[in-house]
Symmetry: D2
Subunit: 387 residues, 4 copies
């Protein structure tokens, strides 16, 4: 008899579960029954089974489960859907929602082989990045997905994305927080949403995909998969979860030509701000402003204890202290963010600021170091010429 | 004897003319002599010739000129280089620099067949967008280019980009403000810089290129080239130039998860602000904030007379009022920016606010209308089913 | 009440309907019942309805039909499936199969709004090319599709491809033979299969897609859609069908380094051969062979009345008489095929040779002329320099 | 003082050195003087120096050398150009030319740090594949390049390609036969020419590039570079060279719909044929033909001792025995070629047939095994599900 993997689908909301309303599309409950049960790809008709689980606030709950037909990897994927009490439009998610997701995973960690998180695409890259930092020592797959069109629409990417996510999380030992979209599996903290309406909406501009689904098989780039020290203790250990990121302490600001020093100063003086992701031009350049007004404002903010991280506005590439303006930023105490996406930089900053007992120096140091595969550290390049 | 096209190269600064200094790379003068004269692609060795021109501040000047070998289009390109008195790092350009470029083109319009503007890549898409609005009734090509590596470096994209720009501006009647990069010619107000270090640094995500340089010929998409009413008056009319855009009246703000209402309010209350480009998630969604605080702030700003334009953070696609959050923004009086890039939205807003005697309603109306090919107006889709 | 489009799905075989057997995957009958009826995207549960149709050999038949839910274009797509008596693996299709498809379309032309042809991917580009020539004066869509994985497999592209094809053929007046694959609609005679296992298996290397399916709408490039003179007579006229292409008269041969003159001669002397598609290097070059042996063989064949067409082996681009070897081929009487794909060249040649009463000169002339949008005629390039 | 790398450029002919003639473009001698010396990227003006070398037929020769300016990798590249006595149009190259190249490298191996081979693009992928097999135990870079436009044309890719090739071969220890084109370095036996006229003409469809040139540095995928056992003996050992491939023993044949059994039989009976590369549809399928005529012909040929290798016509992907027709080919004794390009399959077959004292079984076995990184052996996939 074919074995079963057991997955928990955590439904946070998003386009994938939306239905029309007078005020536009809004998230709707009952995803398993209305969205999945009628489709043969998600329901092989096996006798129903109830799974015990815990809600995002820790309450014990019994969930109906379904299972897929047997996959080419020789097993059924049995899954239950845990719907958030309050379904979210992803444009409104923040650290509170991230904690709910982390808690749902933590509470159900021992009882499931992996997790598929359904989420709106708008902030999906932010949430996946946040969770990649919040969930330490992960030994099971956490695969985020969503869709550009609701599962209830006729022409939808929801079924492809969801099925790929289930098969990947249920068949392969990839203990990372990932995003699965349009037949590709990306590292979650490397992604960005690149299209508002194409089905092929996500890219991982500075890292090739972790896996690709083809018609004949799933090709996993095993060399790239991160392995945790505790991996041999599979299923044994609850991951090391850091809750309570506080996005109210951090902000992003993208420079543009003619940006006024007053605007930057106003942002840097928002009450409670402890960190800023500065999205600069090209390889890390920002305007100096008249009489270096901008630089002076940055310098003053750094001296007030605000951590400023420099990332590029460009889709691909990295900041580098090659040009005079970038060097000036570096001398002002702004930390180079290498090839971090804005999404990863913002959530990493929130995460580091939430860690207890960390000195400012240590936060600064870790910002520039690879913690979860989120950045490429370019050390001394290892080339060798002849002779 | 082969004929000559006569072009003015306007050197504003940027990586293309940079040399190393103790403080990083900085722009250097003497581009024609040091960068172009020694290279056979830019100098066929013909007897030197002096061309009369006017500087960006209107002073008469005599410039040495060189010419390329004969191209496959049967002519030499003769060019002079007008270097800005103060060369710029493009991360610091603003409306003042845009006016200098516009004035340099206006002053020299009758005497040259076209213009190639050399500019840093960091803000190139902003400047090309600005000039596309500032220069009305254009009848000659204005081709911007630059490079990711200085022309003085061994491995550089400068010579390809510059030569393509010269040949395109000197051989084809494309009366638009364009960006030429890596063998492609893009409409200037459709571009964005997508890589901080790849040579292939620019993309025009929502519009195919106007032309492509191949090894056998230059393929121009003639159907897409804009034609001005006065085009039959080639060389006869100085373009209709709008100077004095004021970027201090406008700003960009990119939303992110957890963005604080206070931050948005602070930006919208920066002294003198008249317009804001709001970079939203996906198809135009923004967080509502606790108790709709963000929406209330936007509504209040619109009521104070600030024009807010909604564009997508995504590389491709368009805003559309499909989702509840986007509809809410629309009801708050925020203008949908269709598929405008941020670069085009910001400069278009500056341009419209600089036009004399325009009512707020008229500015709002024009923002959503195609003026220079900068956006795709999706009217009623013209399909027809059978029967 | 929403209106219905009525489509005939012509099932010829191919991976899309395959099931495992001891000898590998083989085509299986009962596609509507087993593959489509259980899926809510293809079956809205409306009361069954029987449609009258004709088989590929002209026999009258009653077919059960289903219909899709209502699409965003405001209509249901009602469809019946006409299965070929003998389902084909597409690697074995030839002119006989093409005639069966043409006849099935011709026989059912008045009664349906459009046609979706299901076909294996291996020879899909050949068959779609052939049909584009065989069906003249088309006024209704003929959309080919298939899949890289069977519809009966868990992870399959079959449902996406088939649903897109139904919506496109049932909602838009695109009177061309097309291929629909992975959310793109290509002109059929411009396609080639580019991947043996990726879902994204087809490309149209020298022509942008006719339409693209996004999450918000279907974007049709209306400027590119071919319009037939009789289009105003929608539904009124049976297309002008040319049957009986004879592939036994034509062959393809791809040159390679070291190819022996004896091999080329052997191919050119196969009994009955009237035309050859010669796949050359780059822009149309072929080896000359020792003492020009190859050229002599080609010249002799042309003099024997064999029509030889020169197409490039490269995925993109065109043949052009730029290089000495290509000029030599031209002088030998070999016809340049512009940017024809091999698939289009072979089927066009078969088609022209099957037309009655055509002189050799006329066949040669039409080979190099655009008949169905299959090639790009590069006339005198319309550029204009200044002055 | 900056150190120098010393490279030998072997000029075999091709577009890169072509000049116009009455009969079209033809290769011209004097490349160093006319093409390289006048360009500052290739000539820093240092005092001339003469280098001793050997011609492709072993004659001792003194060659003038030039050197590049110092690169970012801290060294000059000094180079001499060895021009073949008879420059070739690459469409006419065959095993004789491959031996000349191999001999030129072997003869000059001890005296140079690496080799850049200039070659026409038409058959470049064939030649690079052939040399990858012919040169065993390579310890120095052999980088092939060429161009789509002659170096003597105004708009040319020749200077970029040639400079990148020199810097790569002179700065990095990549002991492989590579192709350098448009800022990418590919493994030679993985390439194919994909465009007849775009500058971006080469692709390595089933393998990512070995290195990429960006504006800030050259990024080498060191994990992918092959290392030979003798690598610690750098400069010490002449590579193990296998000459005398015989392309007259091998052929390629691409199947198409309607292909006649007589044609295949004619090709398989060409005098002297010992091996055939059969380019099949998709994942390895071929028509069976009426009454399995084709299969019978293949079976008979295999029984006569002809080795037939099955590769896919598709740009990407691999043959696999999934479908009935592919299984039938396998049972007929046809060897599956995995993801070999046609170029690699043909030259590997020539190479194996040229090795002395190899049994037919051994040739067959090696055909399906990775010898020089030319194919991806998909062993048992190493995945692990939970539980």
């Amino acid at each position: 008899m074919a074995s079963e993997s057991r997955l928990l689908i955590i439904m946070t909301g998003g386009t994938i579960c939306m239905k029309p309303s007078e005020g536009g599309l809004i998230p709707a409950k009952g995803f398993l029954e209305a969205g999945m049960a009628p489709r043969p790809s998600f329901n092989d008709g096996a006798a129903p089974e109830t799974l015990g689980a815990y809600t995002e606030i820790g309450a014990s709950i019994s969930l109906p489960s379904l299972r897929t037909p047997i996959s080419r990897y020789g097993r059924h994927i049995r899954y239950a859907v845990l719907e958030f009490e309050q379904l979210l439009d992803s444009s409104s998610i923040d650290a509170h929602g991230w904690s709910q997701i982390a808690r749902a995973i933590e509470n159900n960690y021992p009882a499931f082989d992996g997790f598929v998180v359904l989420h709106g695409t708008d902030s999906l890259a932010y949430t996946a990045s946040a969770l990649s930092f919040m969930l330490g020592n992960l030994t099971k797959p956490v695969v985020f997905t969503g869709s550009q069109a609701p599962i209830f629409e006729l022409q939808t990417d929801a079924t492809d994305n969801l099925l790929d996510a289930l098969i990947l999380a249920g068949s392969f030992c990839i203990p990372e927080v990932c995003i699965c979209f349009q037949h590709k599996l990306f590292r979650g903290n490397r992604c960005t949403k690149v299209s508002s309406n194409q089905f092929d909406a996500f890219a991982s501009p500075n890292l090739v995909p972790l896996a690709t689904v083809t018609s004949s098989h799933i090709q996993v780039n095993w060399d790239m998969i991160r392995r945790n020290a505790t991996q041999d203790l599979l299923n044994a250990k609850i991951p090391d979860v850091q809750m309570d990121l506080d996005t109210t302490h951090v902000a992003c600001l993208r420079v543009f030509p003619g940006i006024k020093p007053e605007m930057i100063d106003a942002v840097l003086r928002v009450a409670g701000l402890r960190g800023l992701v500065l999205e600069t031009f090209g390889a890390g350049n920002a305007p100096g402003g008249p009489d270096n007004a901008l630089i002076n404002i940055f310098t003053a903010a750094v001296q007030r204890g605000i951590l400023i991280v420099n990332v590029t506005q460009c889709l691909t590439g990295s900041v580098s202290p090659l040009y005079a303006p970038a060097m000036v930023l570096g001398r002002a105490g702004i930390v180079p963010g290498h090839d971090l996406t804005t999404e990863a930089a913002l959530t990493k900053l929130s995460y580091l600021l939430a860690l207890p007992n960390l000195t400012a120096e240590e936060v600064t140091r870790r910002m520039a170091v690879d913690l979860r595969g989120e950045l490429t550290q370019t050390g001394d390049v290892s080339f060798a010429g002849p002779g």
